[in-house]
Amino acid sequence: MSAFLEIEGLSAVLAGTGARLLRSVSLAVDTGEVRGLVGESGAGKSMIGKAVLGILPKAVRVAEGAIRLDGHDLLAMRPADRRRLIGSVAALIPQDPLTALNPSKRIGPQITDRLVDILGWGKADAQARALELLGEVHIEDPERVIGRYPHELSGGMRQRILIASAFAAEPRLIIADEPTTALDVTVQKQILKLIGEMQAHHGTALVFVTHDLGVVSKVCQSLSVLYAGKVVEDARVADFFAAPRHAYSRALLAATPKYTDPAASLQPVDPSVIEAVTAEVAVADREWIHGR
Protein backbone atom coordinates (compact mmCIF):
# COMPACT_ATOMS: atom_id res chain seq x y z
CA MET A 1 0.00 0.00 0.00
CA SER A 2 1.62 3.23 -1.09
CA ALA A 3 1.14 6.66 0.52
CA PHE A 4 -1.32 9.21 -0.84
CA LEU A 5 1.43 11.65 -1.83
CA GLU A 6 4.80 10.27 -2.84
CA ILE A 7 7.68 12.38 -4.05
CA GLU A 8 10.64 10.50 -5.41
CA GLY A 9 14.02 11.93 -6.39
CA LEU A 10 12.51 15.29 -7.30
CA SER A 11 15.02 17.81 -8.64
CA ALA A 12 14.16 21.29 -9.81
CA VAL A 13 16.45 23.76 -11.54
CA LEU A 14 16.32 27.46 -12.27
CA ALA A 15 15.82 27.74 -16.02
CA GLY A 16 18.71 29.37 -17.86
CA THR A 17 21.32 28.99 -15.14
CA GLY A 18 20.81 25.34 -14.24
CA ALA A 19 21.18 26.18 -10.53
CA ARG A 20 19.53 23.40 -8.51
CA LEU A 21 16.74 24.45 -6.19
CA LEU A 22 15.57 20.99 -5.19
CA ARG A 23 18.05 18.14 -4.94
CA SER A 24 16.57 14.65 -5.30
CA VAL A 25 13.87 15.22 -2.71
CA SER A 26 11.99 12.12 -1.61
CA LEU A 27 9.18 12.05 0.90
CA ALA A 28 5.78 10.50 1.45
CA VAL A 29 2.63 11.69 3.20
CA ASP A 30 -0.11 9.22 3.97
CA THR A 31 -3.80 9.86 4.40
CA GLY A 32 -4.36 11.29 7.86
CA GLU A 33 -0.69 12.18 8.31
CA VAL A 34 0.75 15.66 8.97
CA ARG A 35 4.27 16.11 7.67
CA GLY A 36 6.31 19.23 8.41
CA LEU A 37 8.74 20.64 5.88
CA VAL A 38 11.28 22.67 7.84
CA GLY A 39 14.22 24.76 6.78
CA GLU A 40 15.58 28.26 6.67
CA SER A 41 14.69 30.71 3.93
CA GLY A 42 15.86 29.50 0.53
CA ALA A 43 15.93 25.85 1.62
CA GLY A 44 13.24 25.02 -0.94
CA LYS A 45 10.48 24.05 1.48
CA SER A 46 7.79 26.12 -0.25
CA MET A 47 9.07 24.97 -3.63
CA ILE A 48 8.08 21.38 -2.84
CA GLY A 49 4.50 22.37 -2.07
CA LYS A 50 4.36 24.44 -5.24
CA ALA A 51 5.70 21.55 -7.32
CA VAL A 52 2.98 19.26 -5.98
CA LEU A 53 0.24 21.78 -6.73
CA GLY A 54 1.69 22.56 -10.16
CA ILE A 55 2.19 26.24 -9.36
CA LEU A 56 5.97 26.51 -9.69
CA PRO A 57 7.18 29.88 -10.96
CA LYS A 58 7.81 29.95 -14.72
CA ALA A 59 11.58 30.13 -14.26
CA VAL A 60 11.68 26.87 -12.30
CA ARG A 61 11.76 23.57 -14.16
CA VAL A 62 11.42 20.06 -12.77
CA ALA A 63 14.53 18.25 -14.02
CA GLU A 64 13.75 14.74 -12.86
CA GLY A 65 11.88 12.67 -10.35
CA ALA A 66 8.27 11.74 -9.79
CA ILE A 67 5.35 13.14 -7.85
CA ARG A 68 2.62 10.54 -7.30
CA LEU A 69 -0.74 11.74 -6.08
CA ASP A 70 -3.20 8.98 -5.26
CA GLY A 71 -1.14 6.65 -7.46
CA HIS A 72 -1.10 8.96 -10.51
CA ASP A 73 2.27 10.19 -11.75
CA LEU A 74 1.63 13.93 -12.01
CA LEU A 75 4.62 14.73 -14.19
CA ALA A 76 3.65 12.13 -16.77
CA MET A 77 0.08 13.40 -17.11
CA ARG A 78 -1.28 15.78 -19.71
CA PRO A 79 -1.46 19.31 -18.21
CA ALA A 80 -5.26 19.47 -18.44
CA ASP A 81 -5.69 16.08 -16.69
CA ARG A 82 -3.13 17.07 -14.10
CA ARG A 83 -4.96 20.30 -13.32
CA ARG A 84 -8.23 18.43 -12.99
CA LEU A 85 -6.74 15.83 -10.63
CA ILE A 86 -5.00 18.42 -8.45
CA GLY A 87 -8.12 20.57 -8.37
CA SER A 88 -10.28 17.71 -7.18
CA VAL A 89 -8.03 16.17 -4.53
CA ALA A 90 -5.68 18.92 -3.28
CA ALA A 91 -5.95 22.40 -1.77
CA LEU A 92 -3.69 25.14 -0.40
CA ILE A 93 -3.76 27.16 2.81
CA PRO A 94 -1.65 30.18 1.86
CA GLN A 95 0.73 32.19 3.99
CA ASP A 96 -0.68 35.67 3.94
CA PRO A 97 -4.37 35.96 4.85
CA LEU A 98 -4.27 39.62 3.89
CA THR A 99 -3.55 39.07 0.20
CA ALA A 100 -5.02 35.61 -0.30
CA LEU A 101 -8.61 36.81 -0.32
CA ASN A 102 -9.97 38.94 -3.13
CA PRO A 103 -10.61 42.34 -1.53
CA SER A 104 -13.53 43.17 -3.81
CA LYS A 105 -15.54 39.99 -3.28
CA ARG A 106 -17.72 39.02 -0.34
CA ILE A 107 -16.66 36.05 1.80
CA GLY A 108 -19.48 33.75 0.69
CA PRO A 109 -18.65 33.62 -3.02
CA GLN A 110 -14.95 33.26 -2.23
CA ILE A 111 -15.74 29.91 -0.62
CA THR A 112 -18.52 28.75 -2.94
CA ASP A 113 -17.30 29.89 -6.38
CA ARG A 114 -14.91 27.00 -6.78
CA LEU A 115 -17.58 24.51 -5.78
CA VAL A 116 -20.11 25.92 -8.20
CA ASP A 117 -17.97 26.84 -11.19
CA ILE A 118 -15.42 24.04 -11.20
CA LEU A 119 -16.93 21.17 -9.30
CA GLY A 120 -20.47 21.75 -10.57
CA TRP A 121 -22.28 22.01 -7.25
CA GLY A 122 -25.72 23.59 -7.01
CA LYS A 123 -25.80 27.13 -5.65
CA ALA A 124 -27.91 26.21 -2.62
CA ASP A 125 -25.73 23.19 -1.76
CA ALA A 126 -22.59 25.31 -1.98
CA GLN A 127 -24.12 27.98 0.22
CA ALA A 128 -25.14 25.40 2.83
CA ARG A 129 -21.68 23.89 2.71
CA ALA A 130 -20.05 27.29 3.22
CA LEU A 131 -22.18 27.95 6.30
CA GLU A 132 -21.40 24.51 7.68
CA LEU A 133 -17.66 25.06 7.13
CA LEU A 134 -17.64 28.47 8.78
CA GLY A 135 -19.25 26.81 11.77
CA GLU A 136 -16.56 24.12 11.72
CA VAL A 137 -13.81 26.75 11.89
CA HIS A 138 -15.59 28.31 14.88
CA ILE A 139 -16.79 31.49 13.25
CA GLU A 140 -19.75 32.84 15.17
CA ASP A 141 -22.73 33.99 13.20
CA PRO A 142 -21.69 32.57 9.78
CA GLU A 143 -24.77 34.04 8.07
CA ARG A 144 -23.48 37.53 8.80
CA VAL A 145 -19.81 36.84 7.97
CA ILE A 146 -20.70 35.38 4.59
CA GLY A 147 -21.87 38.81 3.43
CA ARG A 148 -18.78 40.63 4.65
CA TYR A 149 -15.76 41.87 2.69
CA PRO A 150 -12.28 40.68 3.71
CA HIS A 151 -11.13 44.08 4.99
CA GLU A 152 -13.93 44.05 7.56
CA LEU A 153 -12.42 40.99 9.26
CA SER A 154 -9.32 40.49 11.44
CA GLY A 155 -6.25 38.55 10.28
CA GLY A 156 -7.18 35.55 12.40
CA MET A 157 -10.73 35.51 11.01
CA ARG A 158 -9.43 35.66 7.47
CA GLN A 159 -7.07 32.76 8.09
CA ARG A 160 -10.04 30.76 9.45
CA ILE A 161 -11.94 31.53 6.27
CA LEU A 162 -9.01 30.39 4.14
CA ILE A 163 -8.92 27.16 6.12
CA ALA A 164 -12.65 26.66 5.63
CA SER A 165 -12.19 27.36 1.95
CA ALA A 166 -9.34 24.85 1.67
CA PHE A 167 -11.46 22.10 3.21
CA ALA A 168 -14.57 23.02 1.21
CA ALA A 169 -14.33 20.37 -1.49
CA GLU A 170 -13.19 17.60 0.88
CA PRO A 171 -9.65 17.49 -0.50
CA ARG A 172 -7.51 14.49 0.40
CA LEU A 173 -4.28 16.51 0.52
CA ILE A 174 -3.74 20.01 1.88
CA ILE A 175 -0.55 22.02 1.56
CA ALA A 176 -0.26 24.67 4.27
CA ASP A 177 2.46 27.16 3.38
CA GLU A 178 3.57 29.00 6.55
CA PRO A 179 -0.09 29.59 7.42
CA THR A 180 0.57 31.31 10.76
CA THR A 181 3.72 33.33 10.10
CA ALA A 182 1.79 36.57 9.69
CA LEU A 183 -0.25 36.11 12.88
CA ASP A 184 0.22 36.94 16.56
CA VAL A 185 1.26 34.07 18.83
CA THR A 186 -2.06 33.91 20.61
CA VAL A 187 -3.92 33.78 17.31
CA GLN A 188 -1.34 31.36 15.93
CA LYS A 189 -2.12 28.91 18.70
CA GLN A 190 -5.84 28.99 17.90
CA ILE A 191 -5.21 28.57 14.19
CA LEU A 192 -2.76 25.69 14.68
CA LYS A 193 -5.26 23.92 16.91
CA LEU A 194 -7.96 24.53 14.33
CA ILE A 195 -5.87 23.13 11.48
CA GLY A 196 -5.08 20.06 13.59
CA GLU A 197 -8.75 19.60 14.47
CA MET A 198 -9.95 19.98 10.87
CA GLN A 199 -7.26 17.63 9.60
CA ALA A 200 -8.15 14.95 12.13
CA HIS A 201 -11.86 15.36 11.49
CA HIS A 202 -11.53 15.09 7.70
CA GLY A 203 -8.64 12.60 7.71
CA THR A 204 -6.73 14.68 5.19
CA ALA A 205 -3.06 14.26 4.37
CA LEU A 206 -1.38 17.56 5.31
CA VAL A 207 1.96 19.01 4.32
CA PHE A 208 2.90 21.80 6.71
CA VAL A 209 5.62 24.16 5.47
CA THR A 210 7.22 26.21 8.25
CA HIS A 211 10.49 27.63 9.51
CA ASP A 212 9.45 27.17 13.14
CA LEU A 213 10.47 23.94 14.86
CA GLY A 214 8.16 24.84 17.74
CA VAL A 215 5.18 24.79 15.40
CA VAL A 216 6.30 21.45 13.93
CA SER A 217 6.39 19.87 17.36
CA LYS A 218 2.76 20.93 17.88
CA VAL A 219 1.04 19.90 14.66
CA CYS A 220 3.14 17.31 12.82
CA GLN A 221 3.71 13.60 13.17
CA SER A 222 6.69 13.47 10.86
CA LEU A 223 9.06 16.01 9.36
CA SER A 224 11.63 16.56 6.64
CA VAL A 225 14.47 18.99 7.40
CA LEU A 226 15.72 20.75 4.30
CA TYR A 227 18.97 22.49 3.55
CA ALA A 228 19.72 23.97 0.13
CA GLY A 229 16.91 21.96 -1.44
CA LYS A 230 18.10 18.65 0.01
CA VAL A 231 16.33 16.60 2.66
CA VAL A 232 18.98 16.15 5.35
CA GLU A 233 16.74 14.41 7.85
CA ASP A 234 13.44 12.57 7.63
CA ALA A 235 12.03 11.49 11.00
CA ARG A 236 9.04 10.95 13.25
CA VAL A 237 8.47 14.09 15.33
CA ALA A 238 8.87 12.33 18.70
CA ASP A 239 12.16 10.76 17.62
CA PHE A 240 13.43 14.00 16.12
CA PHE A 241 12.98 16.13 19.23
CA ALA A 242 14.31 13.37 21.46
CA ALA A 243 17.44 12.86 19.35
CA PRO A 244 17.94 14.68 16.04
CA ARG A 245 20.29 12.62 13.90
CA HIS A 246 21.79 15.16 11.52
CA ALA A 247 24.30 17.76 12.74
CA TYR A 248 22.40 20.51 10.90
CA SER A 249 19.14 19.54 12.63
CA ARG A 250 20.87 19.64 15.99
CA ALA A 251 22.32 23.08 15.20
CA LEU A 252 18.93 24.37 14.12
CA LEU A 253 17.34 23.15 17.33
CA ALA A 254 20.11 24.70 19.44
CA ALA A 255 19.66 28.07 17.72
CA THR A 256 15.93 28.23 18.57
CA PRO A 257 15.36 30.31 21.73
CA LYS A 258 13.27 28.76 24.50
CA TYR A 259 11.89 30.98 27.24
CA THR A 260 11.71 28.04 29.60
CA ASP A 261 15.43 27.52 29.43
CA PRO A 262 17.19 30.90 29.50
CA ALA A 263 20.33 29.45 31.00
CA ALA A 264 21.06 27.45 27.87
CA SER A 265 22.93 30.00 25.83
CA LEU A 266 21.81 30.31 22.23
CA GLN A 267 24.07 28.43 19.91
CA PRO A 268 24.37 30.19 16.58
CA VAL A 269 24.71 27.62 13.85
CA ASP A 270 28.38 26.66 13.81
CA PRO A 271 30.07 27.47 10.47
CA SER A 272 31.60 24.00 10.46
CA VAL A 273 28.12 22.49 10.44
CA ILE A 274 27.20 24.63 7.45
CA GLU A 275 30.44 23.67 5.72
CA ALA A 276 29.76 20.01 6.35
CA VAL A 277 26.20 20.11 5.07
CA THR A 278 27.24 22.22 2.07
CA ALA A 279 29.92 19.63 1.27
CA GLU A 280 27.30 16.91 1.53
CA VAL A 281 25.14 18.80 -0.95
CA ALA A 282 28.12 19.23 -3.30
CA VAL A 283 28.85 15.50 -3.22
CA ALA A 284 25.24 14.77 -4.07
CA ASP A 285 25.45 17.29 -6.92
CA ARG A 286 28.53 15.61 -8.35
CA GLU A 287 26.86 12.22 -8.23
CA TRP A 288 23.81 13.72 -9.89
CA ILE A 289 25.81 15.22 -12.72
CA HIS A 290 27.77 11.98 -13.27
CA GLY A 291 24.58 10.00 -13.25
CA ARG A 292 23.22 11.93 -16.22
Binding site: L14, G16, T17, G18, A19, A59
Partner: protein, 283 residues
Protein backbone atom coordinates in the same frame (compact mmCIF):
# COMPACT_ATOMS: atom_id res chain seq x y z
CA UNK B 1 26.56 33.20 -7.62
CA UNK B 2 24.78 31.72 -10.57
CA UNK B 3 21.66 33.58 -11.51
CA UNK B 4 19.84 35.27 -14.34
CA UNK B 5 21.46 38.65 -13.87
CA UNK B 6 24.07 38.22 -16.59
CA UNK B 7 21.37 37.48 -19.15
CA UNK B 8 19.32 40.45 -17.98
CA UNK B 9 22.38 42.69 -18.21
CA UNK B 10 23.09 41.55 -21.76
CA UNK B 11 19.56 42.34 -22.81
CA UNK B 12 19.76 45.77 -21.19
CA UNK B 13 23.04 46.47 -22.93
CA UNK B 14 21.78 45.53 -26.38
CA UNK B 15 18.79 47.79 -25.88
CA UNK B 16 20.96 50.66 -24.65
CA UNK B 17 23.42 50.37 -27.53
CA UNK B 18 20.82 50.12 -30.28
CA UNK B 19 18.64 52.97 -29.09
CA UNK B 20 21.58 55.09 -27.96
CA UNK B 21 23.28 54.52 -31.32
CA UNK B 22 20.31 55.78 -33.26
CA UNK B 23 19.93 58.83 -31.01
CA UNK B 24 23.64 59.62 -31.25
CA UNK B 25 23.52 59.36 -35.04
CA UNK B 26 20.51 61.65 -35.07
CA UNK B 27 22.25 64.15 -32.80
CA UNK B 28 25.33 64.26 -35.05
CA UNK B 29 23.17 64.70 -38.13
CA UNK B 30 21.19 67.46 -36.42
CA UNK B 31 24.31 69.32 -35.33
CA UNK B 32 26.01 69.05 -38.69
CA UNK B 33 22.95 69.22 -40.93
CA UNK B 34 24.04 72.36 -42.82
CA UNK B 35 27.26 70.60 -43.84
CA UNK B 36 26.00 67.02 -44.11
CA UNK B 37 22.80 67.60 -46.03
CA UNK B 38 23.33 67.02 -49.76
CA UNK B 39 20.90 69.78 -50.82
CA UNK B 40 19.32 72.94 -49.52
CA UNK B 41 16.18 71.74 -47.68
CA UNK B 42 14.18 74.76 -48.85
CA UNK B 43 15.33 74.83 -52.51
CA UNK B 44 12.36 74.10 -54.78
CA UNK B 45 12.74 72.72 -58.26
CA UNK B 46 9.43 71.98 -59.94
CA UNK B 47 11.23 70.16 -62.75
CA UNK B 48 12.59 67.68 -60.22
CA UNK B 49 9.31 67.15 -58.37
CA UNK B 50 8.40 63.72 -57.00
CA UNK B 51 11.65 62.04 -57.90
CA UNK B 52 11.76 58.51 -56.48
CA UNK B 53 14.49 57.24 -54.08
CA UNK B 54 17.80 56.10 -55.50
CA UNK B 55 17.09 52.44 -56.13
CA UNK B 56 14.00 53.04 -58.23
CA UNK B 57 13.78 53.73 -61.95
CA UNK B 58 13.78 57.44 -62.73
CA UNK B 59 15.86 58.48 -59.72
CA UNK B 60 18.26 61.38 -60.10
CA UNK B 61 21.74 61.20 -58.56
CA UNK B 62 22.07 63.31 -55.45
CA UNK B 63 18.43 62.97 -54.39
CA UNK B 64 18.97 59.82 -52.29
CA UNK B 65 15.50 59.55 -50.82
CA UNK B 66 13.72 61.32 -53.64
CA UNK B 67 11.96 64.69 -53.67
CA UNK B 68 8.54 65.98 -52.66
CA UNK B 69 5.88 67.63 -54.84
CA UNK B 70 7.80 70.91 -54.81
CA UNK B 71 11.04 69.21 -55.77
CA UNK B 72 12.67 69.58 -52.34
CA UNK B 73 15.17 66.89 -51.30
CA UNK B 74 13.53 64.52 -48.75
CA UNK B 75 16.81 63.39 -47.14
CA UNK B 76 17.96 66.97 -46.56
CA UNK B 77 14.61 67.90 -45.11
CA UNK B 78 14.67 64.95 -42.73
CA UNK B 79 18.18 65.92 -41.61
CA UNK B 80 17.20 69.52 -41.00
CA UNK B 81 13.97 68.35 -39.41
CA UNK B 82 16.07 66.44 -36.88
CA UNK B 83 17.42 69.78 -35.63
CA UNK B 84 13.95 70.99 -34.76
CA UNK B 85 12.81 67.63 -33.39
CA UNK B 86 15.81 67.22 -31.12
CA UNK B 87 15.79 70.85 -29.96
CA UNK B 88 12.15 70.49 -28.94
CA UNK B 89 12.84 67.10 -27.34
CA UNK B 90 15.77 68.31 -25.26
CA UNK B 91 14.45 71.66 -24.10
CA UNK B 92 10.85 70.62 -23.58
CA UNK B 93 11.82 67.25 -22.05
CA UNK B 94 14.22 68.73 -19.54
CA UNK B 95 12.03 71.69 -18.60
CA UNK B 96 8.99 69.46 -18.13
CA UNK B 97 11.07 67.09 -16.04
CA UNK B 98 12.48 69.78 -13.76
CA UNK B 99 9.15 71.43 -13.04
CA UNK B 100 7.09 68.25 -12.74
CA UNK B 101 9.63 66.29 -10.68
CA UNK B 102 10.27 69.12 -8.25
CA UNK B 103 6.55 69.54 -7.59
CA UNK B 104 6.03 65.78 -7.39
CA UNK B 105 8.90 65.33 -4.95
CA UNK B 106 7.64 68.10 -2.70
CA UNK B 107 4.08 66.77 -2.79
CA UNK B 108 5.07 63.16 -2.15
CA UNK B 109 7.59 63.80 0.59
CA UNK B 110 6.32 66.89 2.38
CA UNK B 111 2.66 65.79 2.22
CA UNK B 112 0.25 68.12 4.04
CA UNK B 113 -0.97 71.32 2.43
CA UNK B 114 1.74 71.36 -0.24
CA UNK B 115 0.55 67.97 -1.43
CA UNK B 116 -3.08 69.03 -1.34
CA UNK B 117 -2.46 72.11 -3.47
CA UNK B 118 -0.23 70.36 -6.00
CA UNK B 119 -2.45 67.29 -6.30
CA UNK B 120 -5.60 69.36 -6.84
CA UNK B 121 -3.76 71.37 -9.48
CA UNK B 122 -2.79 68.15 -11.26
CA UNK B 123 -6.38 66.92 -11.12
CA UNK B 124 -7.66 70.15 -12.65
CA UNK B 125 -4.94 70.12 -15.29
CA UNK B 126 -5.69 66.55 -16.33
CA UNK B 127 -9.32 67.40 -16.92
CA UNK B 128 -8.40 69.49 -19.99
CA UNK B 129 -8.14 67.61 -23.29
CA UNK B 130 -4.40 67.97 -24.02
CA UNK B 131 -4.54 68.51 -27.80
CA UNK B 132 -7.19 71.18 -27.47
CA UNK B 133 -5.19 72.74 -24.67
CA UNK B 134 -2.12 72.84 -26.90
CA UNK B 135 -3.99 74.39 -29.79
CA UNK B 136 -5.46 77.02 -27.47
CA UNK B 137 -2.04 77.81 -26.06
CA UNK B 138 -0.49 78.15 -29.51
CA UNK B 139 -3.36 80.42 -30.51
CA UNK B 140 -2.53 82.66 -27.56
CA UNK B 141 1.26 82.46 -27.81
CA UNK B 142 1.48 82.50 -31.60
CA UNK B 143 3.24 79.85 -33.66
CA UNK B 144 6.95 79.20 -33.39
CA UNK B 145 9.43 76.87 -31.77
CA UNK B 146 9.26 78.51 -28.35
CA UNK B 147 5.46 78.25 -28.28
CA UNK B 148 5.62 74.54 -28.98
CA UNK B 149 8.09 74.06 -26.16
CA UNK B 150 6.05 76.12 -23.71
CA UNK B 151 2.90 74.25 -24.71
CA UNK B 152 4.54 70.88 -24.07
CA UNK B 153 5.88 71.96 -20.68
CA UNK B 154 2.60 73.48 -19.57
CA UNK B 155 0.63 70.40 -20.59
CA UNK B 156 2.95 67.58 -19.63
CA UNK B 157 4.47 68.55 -16.27
CA UNK B 158 1.60 66.63 -14.65
CA UNK B 159 2.97 63.37 -16.04
CA UNK B 160 6.17 63.78 -14.01
CA UNK B 161 4.38 65.19 -11.03
CA UNK B 162 2.06 62.20 -10.65
CA UNK B 163 4.65 59.51 -11.10
CA UNK B 164 7.34 61.17 -8.99
CA UNK B 165 4.85 61.93 -6.23
CA UNK B 166 3.74 58.30 -6.07
CA UNK B 167 7.32 57.08 -6.03
CA UNK B 168 8.36 59.62 -3.38
CA UNK B 169 5.37 58.56 -1.29
CA UNK B 170 6.53 54.95 -1.54
CA UNK B 171 10.09 55.76 -0.63
CA UNK B 172 9.03 57.98 2.28
CA UNK B 173 7.44 54.98 3.94
CA UNK B 174 10.77 53.14 3.91
CA UNK B 175 12.66 52.82 7.13
CA UNK B 176 15.80 54.34 5.69
CA UNK B 177 13.96 57.63 5.68
CA UNK B 178 12.98 57.17 9.33
CA UNK B 179 16.55 56.23 9.98
CA UNK B 180 17.84 59.44 8.40
CA UNK B 181 15.40 61.31 10.60
CA UNK B 182 16.67 59.50 13.66
CA UNK B 183 20.17 60.47 12.59
CA UNK B 184 19.08 64.10 12.68
CA UNK B 185 18.80 65.05 9.01
CA UNK B 186 16.57 67.98 8.10
CA UNK B 187 13.55 67.34 5.90
CA UNK B 188 15.05 69.13 2.95
CA UNK B 189 18.24 67.13 3.13
CA UNK B 190 16.32 63.85 3.50
CA UNK B 191 14.40 64.75 0.36
CA UNK B 192 17.50 65.56 -1.63
CA UNK B 193 19.99 63.07 -0.25
CA UNK B 194 17.86 60.02 0.50
CA UNK B 195 14.69 60.15 -1.59
CA UNK B 196 15.89 61.81 -4.78
CA UNK B 197 18.58 59.20 -5.62
CA UNK B 198 15.96 56.48 -5.33
CA UNK B 199 13.45 58.30 -7.49
CA UNK B 200 16.07 59.32 -10.05
CA UNK B 201 15.93 56.15 -12.19
CA UNK B 202 12.19 56.66 -12.61
CA UNK B 203 12.81 60.29 -13.53
CA UNK B 204 15.45 59.30 -16.08
CA UNK B 205 13.12 56.80 -17.72
CA UNK B 206 10.36 59.38 -17.76
CA UNK B 207 12.46 62.19 -19.17
CA UNK B 208 13.53 60.18 -22.19
CA UNK B 209 9.96 59.02 -22.67
CA UNK B 210 8.93 62.66 -22.46
CA UNK B 211 11.48 63.57 -25.12
CA UNK B 212 9.86 61.02 -27.40
CA UNK B 213 6.46 62.47 -26.60
CA UNK B 214 7.77 65.97 -27.32
CA UNK B 215 8.90 64.81 -30.75
CA UNK B 216 5.44 63.40 -31.40
CA UNK B 217 3.64 66.50 -30.13
CA UNK B 218 5.82 68.68 -32.31
CA UNK B 219 5.00 66.43 -35.26
CA UNK B 220 1.27 66.58 -34.48
CA UNK B 221 1.31 70.36 -34.23
CA UNK B 222 3.27 70.60 -37.47
CA UNK B 223 0.83 68.18 -39.03
CA UNK B 224 -2.09 70.47 -38.18
CA UNK B 225 0.03 73.39 -39.31
CA UNK B 226 0.39 74.99 -35.88
CA UNK B 227 4.13 74.63 -35.62
CA UNK B 228 6.68 76.92 -37.20
CA UNK B 229 6.36 78.28 -40.72
CA UNK B 230 5.07 75.75 -43.20
CA UNK B 231 8.20 76.03 -45.27
CA UNK B 232 10.56 74.92 -42.52
CA UNK B 233 11.49 71.25 -42.65
CA UNK B 234 9.68 69.52 -39.79
CA UNK B 235 8.92 65.81 -39.74
CA UNK B 236 5.29 66.44 -38.93
CA UNK B 237 4.99 68.95 -41.76
CA UNK B 238 6.59 66.49 -44.18
CA UNK B 239 4.17 63.77 -43.12
CA UNK B 240 1.27 66.14 -43.67
CA UNK B 241 2.49 66.99 -47.15
CA UNK B 242 3.29 63.39 -47.97
CA UNK B 243 -0.21 62.36 -47.04
CA UNK B 244 -1.59 64.36 -49.98
CA UNK B 245 0.61 62.68 -52.57
CA UNK B 246 0.68 59.22 -51.02
CA UNK B 247 -0.40 57.51 -54.25
CA UNK B 248 2.12 59.24 -56.48
CA UNK B 249 5.09 59.55 -54.11
CA UNK B 250 4.87 57.29 -51.00
CA UNK B 251 8.47 58.14 -50.06
CA UNK B 252 7.58 61.66 -49.02
CA UNK B 253 5.39 60.22 -46.28
CA UNK B 254 7.22 57.01 -45.38
CA UNK B 255 10.77 58.23 -44.73
CA UNK B 256 9.93 60.95 -42.20
CA UNK B 257 7.42 58.58 -40.61
CA UNK B 258 10.02 55.85 -40.17
CA UNK B 259 12.50 58.37 -38.77
CA UNK B 260 9.91 59.64 -36.33
CA UNK B 261 8.97 56.12 -35.29
CA UNK B 262 12.58 55.02 -34.73
CA UNK B 263 13.34 58.18 -32.78
CA UNK B 264 10.39 57.94 -30.42
CA UNK B 265 11.00 54.22 -29.91
CA UNK B 266 14.68 54.85 -29.23
CA UNK B 267 13.90 57.50 -26.64
CA UNK B 268 11.66 55.20 -24.65
CA UNK B 269 13.99 52.21 -24.95
CA UNK B 270 17.00 54.32 -24.02
CA UNK B 271 15.23 55.51 -20.90
CA UNK B 272 14.22 52.01 -19.79
CA UNK B 273 17.73 50.79 -20.48
CA UNK B 274 19.29 53.60 -18.47
CA UNK B 275 16.91 52.99 -15.59
CA UNK B 276 17.88 49.35 -15.37
CA UNK B 277 21.51 50.16 -15.91
CA UNK B 278 21.58 52.44 -12.87
CA UNK B 279 19.64 50.01 -10.70
CA UNK B 280 22.19 48.80 -8.12
CA UNK B 281 20.17 45.69 -7.49
CA UNK B 282 20.37 44.58 -11.11
CA UNK B 283 23.89 45.79 -11.68
Amino acid sequence: MLDGRAAVRRRINARLWLSGGWLALLAIVALLAPWLAPKDPLAQDLFAARLPPFWMAGAEPGFWLGTDSLGRDVLSRIMHGARIALAVALVAGIATCLIGSALGLVAGFMRGWADRIISRLVDIWMAFPPVLFAILLIAVLGTGLHSIIIAIVVIDWTRFCRVVRAEALNQSAMDYVASAKVAGRTRLSIMVREILPNVLPTIVALVTLEMGIAVIVEAILSFVNLSISTDAPTWGGMIAEGRISIHQAWWVLVFPLVTLFLTVLSFSQFGEGLKDHFDPVLR
